[in-house]
Amino acid sequence: MSKDALKGPLPVILALPVLALLQVTLQDHDFLIYLTSLVGVNVILAVSLNIVNGMTGQFSIGHAGFMAVGAYSGGKLSLEMKDYALSFLPHVVSDQISFMLAILVGGAAAALCGFIVGLPSLRLKGDYLAIVTLGFGEIIRVIVQNTEAFGRALGLSGIPQSSSLAMILFWVFLTLLVAKRIADSSHGRSLWAIREDEIAAEAMGVNTTGYKVRAFVISAFFAGVAGVLFAHFVPIINPGSFTFVKSMEVVVMIVAGGLGSTTGSVVAAVFLTLLPEGLRSAFSRLDDPSLAQKVDQIRMPIYGLLLVAIMLLRPQGIFGTHEIWDRWKKKPKGAT
C-alpha cells in the first residue's frame, strides 16, 4: 500500500534531494527566495498555532512571543558563533550546520517557554488562557526591549544571513509532516477530544492537562524555529517584529483557513502573506506610485475586512475542520 511506503523518516529523506535541487535552480532569484522565506515562516507559524488553537481548541494569542524567544536566542547564538567555522568542511556546509544548531536551540528555548507558560495556565480555559498567552507575548517583548544583550529597542543586527531556501522549505515540510502525523495518531484524536468536550475526554481516560501542555510545547517549538529562520533572512530583528499584531496575524490566518484544518492554515498563510505583495505590485501599475508604498498601512484594514467577510460568509473558515483531501475521499454520507 502507498501508506506503508511513506513510513518512518522516509519522507524527510526523499524531500532532501528535492529541496537541494530547488536551492540550486532558484539560487539567483533573490526576490522569489525572500518571498518564499516569508511565506514559509508564516506557514510554520500558522500550522503550529493550529495545533493548539485548532486541534486542541485552546485559545492562544501569544504566538509571536514564542517566535521572539526563538528569534532572539537563535539569533544571538549565531552572532556569537559567527567567527567560528568547521575548518574541515566547505564554508557553505559549515554555515548551514551552525544555522541548524541555532534553529534547534531557538526551538528548544521556545519549547521550554511553552512548557513554563503552559504548565500553570493550561488549567485555565477560554478567555483566561487567552489573556495569559497575550501577557506572555508582551512580557517577552518588554524583556527584550530592556535587555542590553538583545540590543534593546534597536534589536539585533548583523546576524549572519545563512538562511537558505532549502532550510526553510525543509522546516515547513517537517512542520507539516509532524502536524499530519499527530492528526493521524491516537495523540491527535485525544487533542480533538479535548477540543470537543473536555469533561468527556477526561472521563474516557485522556490526560487532558498533560495533552494540553504537550500541544503547547510542540506548537511553541515550531514557533521558535520559525523565529530563528526569520532572524536569519531579515537584516535586523527588533521587538517591533514580535508585537501583538504579529500574533493576531497568525490567529487571522488559522481562523480564515478553518480552525483545526492544517491545509486550511497553509492556504490562508500563503494567501495572506502574498496579499500585501500582490497589492504592492498591483498598485505600482497605477499612475500614483505612492499608493504602493502605503500597502503596509492599508494591510490591516484589508485583513479586518477579509476577516469580517469570511466570518459572514463562512464562519467555520475556508476548510472548516476538514483537510483539503477530505473532499475527494469517499464518504458514504447519508447512507440509509
Binding site: 511513506l6 513510513k7 518512518g8 523518516p9 509532524v178 502525523r181 499527530i182 493521524d184 495518531s185 491516537s186 495523540h187 484524536r189 485525544s190 480533538w192 477530544a193 470537543e196 468536550d197 469533561i199 468527556a200 475526554a201 477526561e202 472521563a203 474516557m204 481516560g205 485522556v206 490526560n207 487532558t208 498533560g210 504537550r214 475542520t321 464518504k331 458514504p332 454520507k333 447512507a335
Partner: protein
C-alpha cells in the same frame, strides 16, 4: 465470590451547606447489574461524579479495583477500569462515530516501561518516580507516532479493529463514518456506551441511558445492557427514570432521596418499601397505582 470492583464506603459530599450525598454505600462486582433511582435532585448524578472523580468526596472512601481513588483525576480512575456515560449526552460531536470510539480505545501496551511496574511504584509511595516513568512512556509514544514505527502502525490497526467491533456490538457499524452529532438521539446514546466500552472498563456507569428513547428502543436497550454485562463480564450501575427498565433489568436497587439512601434491595422489596413509595411517587402512591404504570 468475585472481587469487589467498585466499592463506596460512607461517601459524603457537601457543597457549602448543602449535603448532596450522605453516607452513600455501594458495592459492585463483576456481573452485577444494579440500579440507582430517586426523584429529581436526589443526588444520583452527584454520586456518579464522586465515583468517577469529577468531585472529591468530603468524607468516606471510593475504591476501584481495590485502589482507593479519593482525589485521583477522572482519567486515572478511568484507567483503573471505571467508565461512564453522561446524562446530557457528551459525545465528541464533530468527530465521526468511529473516531469517538477510537479516542477511548487508548493504546494499551506501554512499550518502554510496563504499566504494572509503574503502578507498583506508585503503590509503594514512590509516586514521583512513577510519574517520571509515565512521562517517559508518553514521550516514547509521541516519537513512535511521529516516526510511524511499525509497532505504532500495528497498534493503530488494532485500535481501529476494536473500535469497529464495538460499533458492531452496539449496532452502529453502518454509522461509522458519520458525524456523531448528526446521529439520531437513540444512536447517540448507544454510541456513548460504545465509547465507554472502548476504555476496557470493568465497571460501567450508565447515566439515564434510556432518556429520550421510544418504547421499542428502550426494550432493545434492556436486552443490550444484559448482553453487554455477559459478554464483557462487566459490573453495571444504571441511573434511570424509566421504572419499567430499572425494575426489569436490575437485580439490586439503591434509592436516593435528598442525598440519603432510603432503601436498598431487590426491585420487589424496593417497590413495596413505604419510604420509597412516599419519596419517589409522593401523591401518586395514594391512588394505589403500581410503580412503572404510566398514568
Amino acid at each position: 465470590m468475585s472481587e469487589v470492583l467498585l466499592h463506596a464506603q460512607k461517601v459524603s459530599i457537601q457543597f457549602g451547606g448543602l449535603k448532596a450525598l450522605c453516607d452513600f454505600d455501594l458495592e459492585i462486582k463483576s456481573g452485577d447489574l444494579k440500579g440507582l433511582i430517586g426523584p429529581n435532585g436526589a443526588g444520583k448524578t452527584t454520586a456518579f461524579n464522586v465515583l468517577t472523580g469529577v468531585y472529591r468526596p468530603t468524607s468516606g472512601t471510593v475504591q476501584v479495583a481495590g485502589e482507593v481513588v479519593n482525589g485521583r483525576l477522572p482519567h486515572q480512575i478511568n484507567r483503573l477500569g471505571l467508565a461512564r456515560t453522561f446524562q446530557n449526552i457528551r459525545l465528541f460531536k464533530s468527530l465521526s462515530a468511529l473516531d469517538n470510539v477510537k479516542v477511548a480505545c487508548l493504546a494499551e501496551s506501554h512499550p518502554l516501561f510496563r504499566a504494572s511496574g509503574i503502578e507498583a511504584l506508585r503503590k509503594s509511595g514512590q509516586s514521583f518516580m512513577a510519574n517520571g516513568l509515565d512521562a517517559l512512556n508518553n514521550y516514547y509514544d509521541w516519537w513512535r507516532a511521529l516516526l510511524l514505527t511499525p509497532g505504532f502502525l500495528r497498534e493503530e490497526v488494532n485500535i481501529e479493529d476494536r473500535a469497529l467491533e464495538l460499533l458492531s456490538v452496539m449496532g452502529l457499524r453502518h454509522r461509522a463514518e458519520e458525524e456523531a452529532g448528526s446521529l439520531p438521539y437513540g444512536e447517540q446514546r448507544r454510541l456513548e456506551i460504545a465509547r465507554a466500552l472502548g476504555t476496557r472498563p470493568k465497571v460501567l456507569l450508565l447515566d439515564e441511558p434510556a432518556a429520550g428513547m421510544n418504547t421499542k428502543e428502550k426494550a432493545e436497550l434492556m436486552v443490550l445492557i444484559r448482553e453487554l454485562r455477559d459478554r464483557f463480564s462487566l459490573g453495571i450501575l444504571v441511573i434511570e427514570h424509566d421504572m419499567k427498565l430499572v425494575m426489569g433489568i436490575c437485580e439490586q436497587i439503591t434509592v436516593l432521596d435528598h442525598g440519603e439512601t432510603i432503601a436498598y434491595g431487590t426491585p420487589e422489596a424496593v417497590k413495596k418499601n413505604p419510604k420509597v413509595v412516599e419519596a419517589y411517587l409522593g401523591e401518586a402512591a395514594k391512588t394505589d397505582r403500581p410503580i412503572g404504570a404510566t398514568p
